[in-house]
């Protein structure tokens, strides 16, 4: 490994409890994401890939093992501390873009910065304008999400995920809700931003074409890592 990992999972397991019913989803997962790499997580429905992504993104808590973000153990953090790590060090792209309809494109892209304070937001604004221009939305900065196409909205969501200069961006089937042309455009955008910004990307996808273009593919089956292919690490 060329640098210390941005995300490390050490024998992580996850079991859901519903009353007396235990549903184990992940078993003994150990892996690491290094800075700047583009990782695709693939697997069938119910294989546990989204659970893995949620655990890495601190949206969920493991029931076993340890997770470290930038070498800091985050498994024991409380809800507020985890929210702070997400806000300051992680980026997210979801299958449904969920832009805030009351805010303009530029405001949506800057929302993670706004959470950190007005000054930080103002400082990041020129960079976000550039990024939005780079994805072809320079004439839509003042538009509302409802005035954009699905592909354009998802491009805003991708730009938004980079607002805080995160160490890693987690994308949960970001192209799953788009037609193939828009999906390709969004994927290419993510690849380009990954290359240009040096931010690591971890993407859950069903689409093998996209997975093959990742630096590394982590294949999950029945809650276990079945294998990884390629990769910088």
């Amino acid at each position: 490994m060329s640098a210390s990992p941005v995300v490390e999972l050490d024998q992580v397991g996850k079991t859901y409890y519903n009353g007396a019913v235990e549903t184990p989803v992940l078993f003994d997962v150990s892996c690491a994401i290094v800075p700047g790499e583009f990782v695709a997580i693939v697997g069938g429905s119910g294989s546990g890939k989204t659970t893995l992504l949620n655990l890495m993104g601190l949206l969920d808590r493991p029931t076993a093992g340890e997770i470290r973000i930038e070498s800091v153990k985050v498994t024991g953090l409380d809800e507020v501390e985890r929210a702070r790590v997400r806000r300051d060090r992680l980026g997210f792209i979801f299958q449904f873009h969920y832009l805030l309809p009351e805010f303009t494109v530029i405001e949506n892209a800057l929302m993670p910065c706004r959470m950190r304070g007005r000054e930080f937001e103002l400082a990041q604004e020129p960079r976000m304008r550039e990024l939005l221009a780079a994805v072809g939305l320079d004439d839509k900065l003042k538009a509302r999400p409802a005035q954009l196409s699905g592909g354009q909205q998802q491009r805003v969501a991708v730009v938004r995920s980079l607002a805080n200069n995160p160490a890693v961006v987690f994308a949960d089937e970001p192209t799953g809700n788009l037609d193939s042309k828009s999906g390709r455009m969004v994927f290419d955008l993510m690849k380009r931003l990954n290359r240009d910004s040096g931010t690591a990307f971890v993407m859950v996808t069903h689409d093998d074409h996209f997975a093959l273009e990742a630096d590394r593919v982590i294949r999950i089956r029945d809650g276990r890592i079945q294998g990884t292919k390629g990769g910088k690490g």
């Binding site: 969920d60 929210a83 997400r86 300051d88 997210f92 299958q95 969920y98 009351e102 805010f103 959470m115």
Partner: protein, 418 residues
């Protein structure tokens, strides 16, 4: 701490659902208006009722103590236990004996007995017969020191003709109703005969119309000295009347000054228990209406926030995924509740004040021919501030549960499109 992020999200939520926001603001404004309006009108009406009832009366009356003779059974038993039998009869002393003799000594004391006291008037009162020609009628006379008594009831200001403050010995001042009944005019002569047969001639020096039935219909003012002569009180008086700055403190002041006086001290409150009960019932009804209206506006605020939380479920989830804490999200919705209440106040307070000023301008002619305002309206800043505070606190409380619900939104539920 409330951040720019929270304010901007809260503000946009409300602006984005502007029609619901305006409706809620309307509900809050009406509630604030109702609080201000009802409070002021009912307080004014109560003051008017109390003034009408007590305006012609002193707020506190200082009277001679009742002299109930001791029965033989109350007397101390002789030490000798000789078995003597004491025989006697219980006799109530005539009312006429109850008088204050050393009133000139007590008056300066009463003047300064409490800072709330604005006027002290020595009074001589009793029933006499008034004759004019063949007409003869029993009337009540009040012998007064005019300047002092004018501090209790403003007779001089309400004179239809003649004089009151400058009334001389041998003058009477009476109400317009009594004068009309008797057919007397200014400078006419009447003859008053006291209970012990003392009869004196008087000249009508003034006719007043105070609007108080007790004073206008059957009361005749004479000078203190003439009153004493007619009623055979020589140098004594029947009682003191005391006026206070705030009539609602009467009972308090009465209890405070009573221990220092060898007399009976009564406040108007004790003399008018039914009035007090009526006012109390009225106040409670008012409070109930205000409580209901406050609750209604609280429900209004809560309902719009529940709607916003429900419709913004996904956006809330995304904000939380991006790093907003439950407290951040809760505060957004509390801000929304308080903002709605605040704007409601900013609309409701001027509306309430405007409505009251409109009503304050109305004048009507009463059955006694006096032109008067039907509503006694005094807009108190404390009521405006109080109504606004009630609305703001209601906004805060109403937003609490929707805000808590919003804070609990699970981002994982949302991002899978559930």
């Amino acid at each position: 701490m409330l951040s720019y992020f929270m304010w901007s999200v809260a503000f946009r939520h409300l602006r984005y659902s502007i029609s619901q926001s305006l409706l809620t603001i309307g509900v809050v404004a009406i509630s604030v208006l109702l609080i201000i309006y009802l409070w002021t009108i009912i307080s004014g009406t109560q003051t008017r009722i109390v003034q009408n009832t007590t305006g012609s009366l002193p707020h506190i009356t200082v009277e001679p103590p009742e002299r109930t003779p001791l029965g033989a059974w109350n007397l101390p038993m002789p030490d000798d236990q000789s078995g003597k039998l004491y025989v006697g009869e219980v006799v109530n002393l005539p009312r006429g004996l109850e008088r204050i003799e050393d009133w000139q000594l007590w008056m300066p004391y009463l003047d300064h007995a409490d800072p709330a006291i604005t006027a002290v008037s020595p009074l001589v009162s009793g029933q006499v017969f008034m004759n004019r020609g063949s007409r003869r009628q029993s009337v009540r006379i009040l012998g007064v020191l005019q300047a002092r008594h004018n501090g209790i009831v403003e007779i001089e200001k309400n004179l239809v003709e003649g004089r009151f403050l400058a009334m001389n010995s041998g003058d009477v001042v009476m109400g317009s109703k009594l004068a009309a009944d008797f057919g007397v005019k200014l400078r006419d002569k009447v003859r008053l005969t006291g209970p012990e047969g003392v009869a004196l001639n008087f000249t009508v020096a003034g006719i007043h119309n105070t609007g108080f039935g007790q004073i206008d219909d059957g009361l005749v003012f004479v000078s203190l000295r003439d009153g004493q002569s007619l009623l055979g009180l020589s140098g004594s008086i029947s009682s003191f009347g005391i006026k206070l700055a705030d009539l609602y403190t009467a009972e308090q002041v009465a209890q405070k000054i009573a221990p220092g006086l060898p007399f009976k001290v009564r406040s108007w409150v004790l003399d008018n228990p039914n009035l007090f009960r009526t006012l109390d019932a009225q106040s409670q009804t008012r409070n109930l209406i205000l409580l209901m209206s406050t609750i209604a506006s609280g429900f209004g605020i809560a309902s719009i926030l529940v709607m916003v939380v429900t419709s913004k479920y996904r956006e809330i989830g995304i904000l939380k995924a991006m790093g907003a804490t439950p407290a951040d999200i809760q505060q957004i919705f509390v801000i929304e509740g308080v903002l709605l209440a605040l704007v409601g106040c900013l609309v409701g307070v001027p509306l309430g004040v405007g409505l009251l000023e409109l009503l304050a301008g109305i004048r009507s002619v009463g059955p006694d021919g006096r032109v008067d305002a039907p509503f006694l309206i005094q807009i108190e800043p404390a009521v405006l501030v109080g109504a606004s505070l009630v609305a703001l606190v209601t906004g805060g409380i109403a937003s609490f549960f929707p805000a808590r619900r919003a804070g609990k939104v699970d981002p994982m539920q949302v991002i899978r499109g559930n």
